[in-house]
């Protein structure tokens, strides 16, 4: 019975997860290494890669500040409307990526709320970089907060209170006491946030306008090549994104391991108070 279940489960996973993964690399190299290399080093691909990195470089730090601030006020204080606030933070996860892109078109597009004002002042948001960054930031905003809130809730406020009573400043307490406690959770959230920011397709596709060399991210570049029947090139670029996904999974597993270990250490330290004093 046991081996039947293991075999069925593994066969299912191999079929649904592993097969697509193997296919990406096999298709990427189907026309040989030179075609592969050319596909990922041509100017359009490089500019798409640069844009993708730039978007993540803005969206991830911004959402880190938001996530830490949100987790701090939610877990360290009591105030009315807290549960509503938690639900609102989660909201972008419930919204379809296409609708996430669309709301920014409705706001800043040519026919949008601020459209005519932006046109007068010659500011372009939709079909330009700011729109892509806004849509990506919206989509990825819950990741860090969501990771930190349960973690910091569990840790409570005792350590911070002790630091303050002993005369530490607010920032000092945060950087010396809170941050070391939450560093693995924070890193975990950042990794997931980054993966989504670099890989987002639906929302970015609505706001980008698909201008080659200008507003094309890597996932959009994959789509364009695929629709032009340049399959090998499309899969070559896709394989770069797949590698990113695999690195994300590896880092995530590593962080989970460290997190468990530090939780274990903490539990041990708490059970032997003399070790804390030492």
């Amino acid at each position: 019975m046991r081996w039947v279940l293991i075999t069925v489960a593994l066969a299912f996973l191999a079929f649904t997860l592993l097969l697509p993964l193997v296919l990406v690399f096999s298709q990427a190299f189907s026309k040989g290494f030179s075609v592969y290399w050319q596909a990922i080093t041509e100017p359009d691909a490089l500019s798409a890669a640069k844009l993708t990195l730039l978007i993540a470089a803005v969206a991830v730090p911004v959402n880190m500040v938001f996530g830490v601030a949100a987790a701090w006020c939610i877990t360290k204080f009591d105030f009315p409307g807290k549960n509503l606030l938690i639900t609102l933070i989660d909201l972008p996860f419930a919204v379809s990526p296409v609708i996430s892109g669309m709301i920014f078109v409705l706001l800043y597009g040519a026919h949008g709320w601020f459209g005519s004002w932006l046109m007068e002042h010659d500011i372009k948001i939709i079909f330009a970089l700011p729109g892509i960054i806004l849509a990506t930031t919206f989509i990825t905003s819950p990741f860090v907060a969501r990771e930190l809130i349960p973690l910091m809730q569990e840790q409570g406020t005792d350590e911070e209170e002790a630091a303050i009573v002993l005369g530490a400043g607010g920032w000092q307490t945060f950087f010396r006491v809170t941050l070391p406690n939450i560093k693995w959770g924070l890193l975990y959230g950042l990794i997931l946030c980054n993966a989504r920011a670099m890989g987002e397709f639906g929302a970015v596709s609505v706001v980008s306008g698909h201008i080659r060399g200008q507003t094309n991210t890597l996932p959009l570049h994959v789509e364009i090549l695929y629709n032009e029947y340049a399959f090998a090139a499309s899969f070559a670029v896709a394989s770069v994104l797949t590698l990113l996904a695999l690195v994300t999974l590896a880092l995530k597993t590593l962080v989970e391991w460290y997190q468990r270990r530090s939780a274990h250490d903490l539990a041990e330290a708490k059970s032997t108070p003399e070790r804390m004093a030492a």
């Binding site: 293991i6 697509p20 909201l91 379809s96 709301i103 706001l107 996932p219």
Partner: protein, 274 residues
């Protein structure tokens, strides 16, 4: 409580950042969509969302998502069970791989699945002679949604199975319960709330999914056109009012699902605490 808020600093700053950010990035943009619907009269709104092409895409999106979530619930439970209960070589690697659909950009999943299930693909070439067409049909859409939704069920069920003590099952077995009885009377009732939550999460993700589906769906109006694609088509035709009307129905459905999920989790926590 009041002493706590007096001791620790930073309440105003952190709440201020949180509320300002949420308002600007999330709430204001989402509010536009509801205010935009007021551009339409009720009759115009109704005729837009009950247009046969729109109805067909709602039916397809919700139907395929439901089917995919059901498949995910069955196999998700199996995978979670195997990962928690059995030790076999490569288990940790498999465990890490389960999150692949979370990490892999949806467009990559989309082109990979389409190539696999096309009539000359690795899998498609064996299904075609059997008369089974996957790529460019609603079956293909379901396949993509199964890929996307799998981790939701596995990751919600796994911790509950982890907490379920083997001793309880052994007790049931020693009291004369058959293996199937132990599962249906002891294990299943315990994981059922988590399973339902995982189902709802997978379903919610599936109805909004775009990237992995758009390549394999074929995008034929009335047949294989999903709601997110219909919204994009309307946007590209500058039919903002129509796109908004279609989107609002989706959004309300998503929010109801989110509410259900939160209630389920709240109920599960209360049961755990009791």
């Amino acid at each position: 409580m009041s002493t706590r808020s007096r001791i620790l600093p930073g309440f105003g700053l952190s709440l201020g950042i949180t509320c300002t950010y949420l308002s600007l990035i999330v709430l204001l943009p989402l509010a536009t969509i509801f205010s935009r619907t007021t551009d339409l009269s009720w009759a115009a709104f109704w005729s837009t969302v009950t247009n046969p092409r729109v109805i067909a895409s709602y039916r397809l999106t919700f139907g395929a998502s439901f089917l995919a979530a059901v498949v995910n619930t069955v196999f998700g439970l199996l995978v979670a069970w195997v990962l928690v209960r059995y030790r076999f070589p490569g288990r940790r690697l498999v465990d890490a791989l389960v999150d692949l659909p979370f990490a892999l950009p949806t467009a990559v999943a989309g082109i990979a699945l389409t190539t696999l299930y096309a009539s000359n693909g690795w899998v498609g070439q064996y299904l075609e002679p059997l008369g089974i067409k996957v790529a460019y049909t609603s079956l293909g859409i379901t396949v993509a949604l199964i890929f996307i939704g799998l981790p939701f069920v596995v990751r919600t069920v796994q911790p509950v199975l982890d907490d379920l003590e083997v001793e309880v099952e052994e007790a049931a077995a020693s009291l004369g319960a058959r293996r199937w009885q132990t599962f249906s009377r002891v294990v299943f009732p315990t994981v059922a709330p988590a399973l339902l939550t995982g189902f709802a999460l997978a379903f919610a993700r599936a109805i909004g999914e775009y990237g992995s589906v758009v390549f394999i769906s074929g995008n034929m109006p009335m047949k294989t056109e999903i709601v997110p694609l219909l919204i994009i088509t309307k946007l590209e035709q500058y039919d903002y009012a129509g796109a908004t009307a279609v989107a609002v129905v989706m959004l309300v459905a998503s929010f109801l699902l989110l509410l259900t999920i939160n209630l389920l989790q709240w109920a599960a926590r209360r049961r755990m605490a009791a």
